[in-house]
C-alpha cells in the first residue's frame, strides 16, 4: 500500500482559506451536507413558487411543522444508533401533557410540573428499556404494547376530548410553547446538546458501539444494557417535552395528538437524515434536518394550495426524488473530497 497520509488534523482546520469558504468547506465535509442541500433546494423552490413561503408568518408555521418531529427524532436517533427503536414516542407525546395537567391541578407550579411530567415520561422510557433489555422482548413489541397502553390511558384521563391548559396566560406557558418560535428554539438547543452527547461523550461512543457490534461492545466492557435503557429514557423524555410544548402552543392538550403518525414522521426524519435502522450509525444533526425536510415539504405543498388527495402524491414523489438526489449528492461529495 502506498499511503498518501492525510494529516489527521486536516478535517479540523484547512490552513489557508478565508472564513466564508472555510465554513462552506466544513459544512461540505460533513455527512449531513447532502440532506442540507436538498432541503435548501426545496426551500428555494417553494420561495420562488409562492412569495408567501418565505414570510415571517410562514416561517413560524414551518417551525411548528418542524420542532415536534425534530425533538422526537433526536431521541429516535439515539435509540436507532444503539439498535433499538421506540414506537410509543408519539403516545408519550400525547400522554405527558395530561400528567402535567394532573400536577397543575394538584397545585404544583407549572415549571416544576413540567419537570415532573418529563420525568414521568422518562419513567415510561425506563419501563420500555427494562422490559426490552432485562427480559429480552423485542423493542418493537415492547414499545408497541406501551403505545397502546398509553393511548388508552390518555383517552381515559382526558375523557376522550381535548382539554385547555389551565394556565394559558402564565410566563411558563409562554416559555413552554406559546411564545413565537420558542418551540424551534427549544429544538435547536436540544439538538445542539444531543449532538455533543452523541459525538463528544463516552455515552455517545457507547451508543454507537452498542448498536454497531453489541457482542464486541460487551467484550470491550461497554455497559450495553445501561446505554439502551438510558436512551429509551431520553427518547421518552424528549417526546414528552415536545408534547408539552405542542399542547401549550395550540392551547389544547389533545389526547389524539402525536400517536403513531408523529412517531412515524420522527423515525422517517431520522432515516432521511442518514440514520440506519440496523444500528451503529446515525447523526443528530441529520435527524433535525430530516424533520426540517419533512416540515418544508408539508408546509410548502400546503401553502401552494395542493388539496389533500393530491398532496399525498406530491409528498410521495417529492420524498423519493429528493432522496434520490440526496444519494447522488453524497456520492458527488465523497468524490469531490478526494480531489
Amino acid at each position: 500500500m502506498t499511503t498518501t497520509r492525510e494529516p489527521d488534523s486536516a478535517r479540523a482546520a484547512p490552513p489557508t482559506r478565508a472564513l466564508g469558504p472555510r465554513v462552506v468547506d466544513v459544512i461540505f465535509r460533513r455527512r449531513e451536507a447532502s440532506i442540507l442541500l436538498v432541503t435548501l433546494a426545496l426551500f428555494v423552490y417553494f420561495s420562488s413558487v409562492n412569495s408567501a413561503f418565505f414570510s415571517e408568518a410562514n416561517m413560524r408555521v414551518l417551525s411548528h411543522f418542524t420542532y415536534p418531529i425534530a425533538m422526537i427524532a433526536l431521541g429516535q436517533v439515539m435509540l436507532l444508533v444503539c439498535g433499538q427503536l421506540d414506537l410509543s414516542a408519539g403516545h408519550v407525546f400525547a400522554f405527558t401533557p395530561f400528567v402535567l395537567l394532573f400536577f397543575i391541578e394538584a397545585g404544583v407550579p407549572t415549571a416544576i410540573g413540567v419537570v415532573l411530567a418529563v420525568a414521568a415520561a422518562s419513567g415510561v422510557g425506563l419501563l420500555n428499556g427494562l422490559i426490552t433489555v432485562k427480559i429480552g422482548v423485542h423493542p418493537f413489541i415492547t414499545t408497541l404494547g406501551m403505545a397502546f397502553v398509553l393511548q388508552g390511558s390518555t383517552l381515559i384521563i382526558a375523557d376522550g376530548r381535548p382539554t385547555t391548559p389551565p394556565d394559558l396566560g402564565s410566563v411558563e406557558s409562554e416559555i413552554f410553547g406559546r411564545f413565537p418560535f420558542v418551540g424551534i428554539m427549544w429544538a435547536v438547543v436540544l439538538t445542539a446538546l444531543m449532538y455533543v452527547v452523541l459525538t463528544n461523550t463516552r455515552w455517545g461512543i457507547y451508543t454507537f458501539a452498542t448498536g454497531g457490534n453489541p457482542l464486541g461492545a460487551r467484550e470491550a466492557g461497554v455497559p450495553i444494557d445501561r446505554i439502551k435503557i438510558g436512551n429509551f429514557m431520553m427518547c421518552s423524555a424528549l417526546a414528552g417535552f415536545a408534547g408539552t410544548l405542542e399542547g401549550y402552543r395550540i392551547s389544547s392538550f389533545d389526547p389524539l395528538s402525536g400517536g403513531f403518525t408523529t412517531m412515524f414522521f420522527a423515525i422517517s426524519a431520522a432515516v432521511i437524515g442518514g440514520t440506519a435502522l440496523a444500528g451503529g450509525s446515525g447523526t443528530i444533526i441529520g435527524g433535525f434536518l430530516g424533520a426540517l425536510f419533512i416540515g418544508v415539504l408539508r408546509d410548502g405543498f400546503t401553502i401552494e394550495g395542493i388539496s389533500s388527495f393530491q398532496l399525498f402524491i406530491y409528498l410521495g414523489v417529492a420524498i423519493i426524488i429528493s432522496m434520490v438526489l440526496n444519494v447522488w449528492l453524497s456520492r458527488l461529495r465523497r468524490g469531490a473530497m478526494l480531489s
Binding site: R5, E6, T201, I205
Partner: protein, 262 residues
C-alpha cells in the same frame, strides 16, 4: 516468583472450571495457573475451548462450575468491566471492534480520554496517541479517523492489540493476537510483549497456533484437550517439534475416533 501482593503468587488460578453450551461441552474440568510475571502459552485444537476459557476469565461468560482466583483472591468476574477493574486486559479473537467507529475511538473504547474534568472526549489526544501506537507497531494506516469497516485484516487486529497492550493492566489475555499480522508486525508485537514482561509484574496468557512464536516468547506452555489441561511444561523443556507431535498424535487418535463414529 515476583514479590507482589498476591497471596499465592498466581496472577490467575482456576480450579475445575466447566462450561457447556447447550449440548456442547466446551470445558470439562480446567485447572490452570498463570504465575505473576509469566507468559503462558495456551495451545490446543480448533474448538478445544481456549477462547471459552479466556471469555470466562474476562467475565464475558459465566462458568457452570469451578473457582477462579485472581491475584490470590477468589472472584468470578461478573463482566468485562469487572475483569478490567481487576487489572485484566484482553485481546479477543473476534477483536471486539465497532465497524462504524473510527480507528482511534476503537483503540480507546472504554478507556476514552477526557478533556480534563469535563465529560467531553479529548479527540485530539486520542488521535495523536492512536497514531503513535500504530507507528510503534509498524502498522501503516492512512488516517486514524477512518472507520474500521474496510481496513485490512491485519490493520484491524493491530487496533485490537493496541487497545489491550497500551494500558497499565497487570494481566493480559491475548487470544491469537497475531493470527492476521504480517511477519514484520508480528515480530514487533512479540518484542512489545517481551518489553512488557521485562518491565515486570505483568502476566500474560497467549493463545497461538504458531508454535514457533509460542516457544519464542512464552515461559510455559499448556495444552487444552478434551476440555482439560493435558500438558503443562516450561518452554525450556519442550520444542516446536514436540508440541507439533503432541497435537498430531491427538489427531491420529481423534481421527480414528471419528472414523469409528461414522
Amino acid at each position: 516468583m515476583s514479590t507482589d501482593q498476591s497471596v499465592d503468587g498466581y496472577a490467575i488460578r482456576t480450579e475445575n472450571i466447566a462450561k457447556n453450551f447447550e449440548a456442547v461441552v466446551a470445558l470439562e474440568d480446567v485447572s490452570i495457573e498463570l504465575q505473576r510475571g509469566e507468559v503462558l502459552g495456551l495451545i490446543g485444537d480448533n474448538g478445544a475451548g481456549k477462547s471459552t476459557l479466556i471469555k470466562i476469565l474476562t467475565g464475558f461468560h459465566r462458568p457452570d462450575s469451578g473457582r477462579i482466583f485472581i491475584n490470590g483472591e477468589q472472584v468470578t468476574p461478573r463482566s468485562p468491566s469487572h475483569a478490567r477493574s481487576l487489572g485484566i486486559e484482553t485481546v479477543y479473537q473476534d477483536l471486539a471492534l465497532v465497524n462504524e467507529l473510527p480507528v482511534y475511538m476503537n483503540m480507546f473504547l472504554n478507556k476514552e480520554l477526557r478533556r480534563g474534568r469535563l465529560p467531553l472526549l479529548n479527540k485530539r489526544k486520542m488521535k495523536q496517541m492512536a497514531r503513535e501506537h500504530l507507528d510503534d507497531m509498524g502498522v501503516q494506516l492512512s488516517s486514524v479517523g477512518t472507520e474500521v469497516t474496510f481496513l485490512s485484516g491485519g490493520q484491524r487486529q493491530a487496533i485490537a492489540v493496541a487497545r489491550a497492550v497500551y494500558s497499565d493492566a497487570s494481566i493480559f489475555l491475548l487470544d491469537e493476537p497475531l493470527a492476521a499480522m504480517g511477519a514484520k508486525e508480528s515480530a514487533i508485537i512479540l518484542n512489545l510483549i517481551r518489553d512488557l514482561k521485562r518491565k515486570g509484574d505483568v502476566s500474560m496468557m497467549l493463545i497461538a497456533h504458531n508454535y514457533t512464536q509460542v516457544v519464542d516468547v512464552c515461559d510455559r506452555v499448556c495444552l487444552l484437550q478434551h476440555g482439560q489441561i493435558t500438558y503443562n511444561k516450561p518452554v525450556g523443556e519442550t520444542s516446536v517439534q514436540e508440541l507439533t507431535e503432541l497435537v498430531a498424535a491427538e489427531y491420529r487418535l481423534g481421527n480414528n475416533g471419528n472414523a469409528s463414529g461414522k
